[in-house]
């Protein structure tokens, strides 16, 4: 299990450290797909990257909590052990397939590099494995593809190559940060099917970072909704879709074009996510929330809901679920 417990992260903004992720706990289990959902600027990507202790060279600092892989803290490991975990046991798929691939190296050299970094293989074995990986992600002409450069591939193909790369060392966990956002709708559907298929076949634990509840509906077993640095609601995907309890979750679900009637105004969430450093003292969502009252000015702890399996960080949970 890959586990964040009570993790708080700070970033340096103009020389001053401000909290950007606040007391986040998440559990990524083998064989399950966990969705981390929220708007841009909520801290989802920073949280996801912290699971591999990435982002530290960009000034992200852990101020509290821990990150453990099978019970062992990532903060007690040396660089060599961390290097073996990154891309080895825990792999990442990023949003922009163009920027994540190096344009001046062929697909072969980039894929074989990752394989040989983590597995004890000679060049020929690694090449064979590369071909197998590309076939696994649905590339028919894998052999020919190896000699190509990233710019010769479509967005969907590049994303497949990145998924193949993530699978290179047979990881136990994959962290996918908006893996389909840059793609066409029809290509999105295929990439989703591919990721789910690999996830099931290899019993992977998959963390899906997204702003799109459509993707969550399609892929996830469990959901964590994040707002302004905090997890505001967690539960099974069915619970969250059937009984969304936090006003933010409900609002975010409501402004999808596919669920609102054409011809009328779209429901919106007024205002925007407050940046780190400008969070309200009480409930972070209160300034944008229709249900907010004086009681919301004080810090809010998560409330259990539906026999403890469903948590919502809101004082008005009873009201929202009706």
């Amino acid at each position: 299990m890959l586990e964040l417990s009570d993790l708080s992260l700070s970033v340096s903004i103009q020389g001053e450290f401000v909290e950007a992720v606040s007391g986040v706990s998440l559990q990524l289990e083998a064989g399950r797909v966990l969705g981390l959902v929220g708007e841009s600027g909520c801290g989802k990507s920073m949280t996801a990257q912290s699971m591999l202790r990435l982002g530290e060279h960009q000034g992200v600092v852990k101020t509290a909590g821990d990150i453990c892989l099978d019970g062992q803290s990532l903060f007690e490991m040396d660089n060599e052990a961390l290097r073996r975990i990154r891309g080895g046991r825990v792999a990442m798929v990023f949003q922009e397939p163009m920027t994540a691939l190096n344009p001046v190296f062929s697909i072969a050299s980039q894929l074989i590099e990752v394989i040989r970094l983590h597995l004890d293989m000679d060049k020929h074995q690694a090449r064979r494995r590369a071909i197998g990986l590309l076939q696994d992600v649905g590339m028919q002409d894998a052999e020919q593809l190896l000699s190509q450069y990233p710019d010769a591939l479509s967005g969907g193909m590049r994303q497949r190559v990145l998924i193949a790369m993530a699978m290179a060392a047979d990881p136990d966990y994959i962290i996918a940060d908006e893996p389909t956002t840059a793609l066409d709708v029809s290509v999105q559907k295929r990439i989703i099917a591919l990721l789910l298929n690999l996830q099931k076949k290899r019993n992977l634990g998959l963390l899906l970072v997204t702003h799109d509840f459509g993707l969550v509906a399609e892929m996830c077993d469990d959901v964590a909704v994040m707002y302004a640095g905090e997890i505001v609601e967690t539960g099974s995907v069915k619970e969250i879709f059937d009984h969304p309890a936090h006003p933010y979750t409900r609002a975010l679900m409501g402004c999808r074009p596919e669920v609102s009637e054409p011809g009328i105004l779209m429901p919106v969430i007024a205002g925007q996510v407050p940046p780190p450093g400008l969070w309200p003292a009480g409930c972070h969502f209160a300034p944008r929330c229709a249900l907010a009252d004086a009681a919301c000015q004080a810090p809010v702890t998560p409330h259990a809901w539906a026999e403890g399996k469903h948590l919502a960080r809101c004082l008005h949970v009873g009201q929202t679920a009706q």
Partner: protein, 318 residues
């Protein structure tokens, strides 16, 4: 009244890289025609590479035409020089996908928005220009406190509002919007959709809306043009396309829309084949089409009177 019309547009680009001019040509747009009437929203949908952005740029006269005509408000502008076009560009303006890339990072917001005024209203004083910018920003839901800031100080949604203000400042009749929502969060998308809706109602604007996202198009479009491999394969009202589409390609786009609840998940999760092929002759969609038969290879792909180009369409609903 027709505010924008394109007739029999053709466009090819030379294939191959700059290092190996192969002489081969890729047809980006083949014989495309449509009309946009006053106050309506016409959406052009299709996947990457379908030619939808190329058409938009030709309609804007930003790309030379290989063949065909472009009419702005009834006037044929196909043969006009750059200089002659410039004096007419206030009629039709464009909003781009990436509001960050389309704003000059070294220009203050008010300067970027005011650029159109320098061309079309060059006699205005600086103070008057600033007033016009403030008014237009207000129209787009931004207050004037940001006028002297730079693009990086704004969020994605705010930047897209700035992009819309920049297009509106010369009071166009037509806006060409090229994937204006694709780079935005769902919550911000909804805000911009409402803004576009309001502007259209208040000012009688016509929109040519380029998008690959059918959920958004369903919300915003009065009529829809579906493109595949450079051709228009189906056209109709939003209602036609969304509740009784005939072309199998349109159907495949509709099927690819995100689901709204986990209970709608498809039972099998077998990966779909890569299937990104486009046929060289006949119907371009035949390689991927579940309804294709042998004679599709000889089909000329002309839209019929009902507005679709297919030999074996979906059955029309009663």
């Amino acid at each position: 009244m027709t505010v924008l019309a394109v007739r029999n547009l053709h466009k090819s680009f030379s294939a191959g890289s700059i290092f190996s001019a192969s002489g081969a040509e890729k047809k980006a747009v083949i014989d495309a025609s449509f009309e946009l009437t006053s106050g309506e929203t016409l959406a052009i949908v299709g996947e990457s590479g379908s030619g939808k952005s190329t058409i938009a740029r030709m309609a804007m006269r930003l790309l030379p035409l290989d063949a065909g005509q472009v009419l702005w408000g009834g006037e044929d502008v196909s043969g006009l020089s750059v200089r002659a076009l410039r004096s007419r560009r206030h009629y039709i303006q464009m909003v781009f996908q990436d509001p960050f890339a389309s704003l000059n990072p070294r220009m203050k917001i008010w300067e970027s928005v005011a650029e159109g005024l320098r061309v079309h209203h060059s006699s205005l004083t600086r103070a008057k220009r600033r007033d016009r910018v403030a008014d237009t920003l207000a129209l787009c839901g931004l207050d004037d406190s940001g006028m002297d800031r730079y693009p990086h100080q704004f969020s994605g949604g705010q930047r897209q509002r700035i992009g819309i203000a920049r297009a509106l400042i010369v009071e166009p009749k037509v806006l060409v919007l090229d994937e204006p929502l694709s780079a935005l969060d769902v919550s911000v998308q909804a805000q911009i959709m409402n803004l576009l809706n309001k502007l259209q109602q208040d000012r009688g604007l016509s929109y040519l809306f380029i998008s690959h996202d059918l959920s958004v198009v369903h919300h915003i479009a009065d009529r829809v043009v579906v493109m595949f491999a450079g051709r228009i394969v189906e056209t109709g009202t939003g209602e036609d396309v969304f509740s009784r589409c005939r072309h199998p390609y349109t159907q495949s786009l509709l099927d690819a829309r995100p689901i709204t609840h986990p209970r709608e998940r498809a039972c099998d999760s077998t990966p779909m084949s890569l299937d990104e092929g486009i046929a060289e002759s006949g119907c371009p969609f035949q390689l991927r089409c579940p309804q294709a038969r042998a004679d599709c290879a000889g089909f000329d792909c002309q839209l019929n009177a009902q507005g679709y180009a297919c030999l074996y369409p979906n059955k029309s609903s009663p």
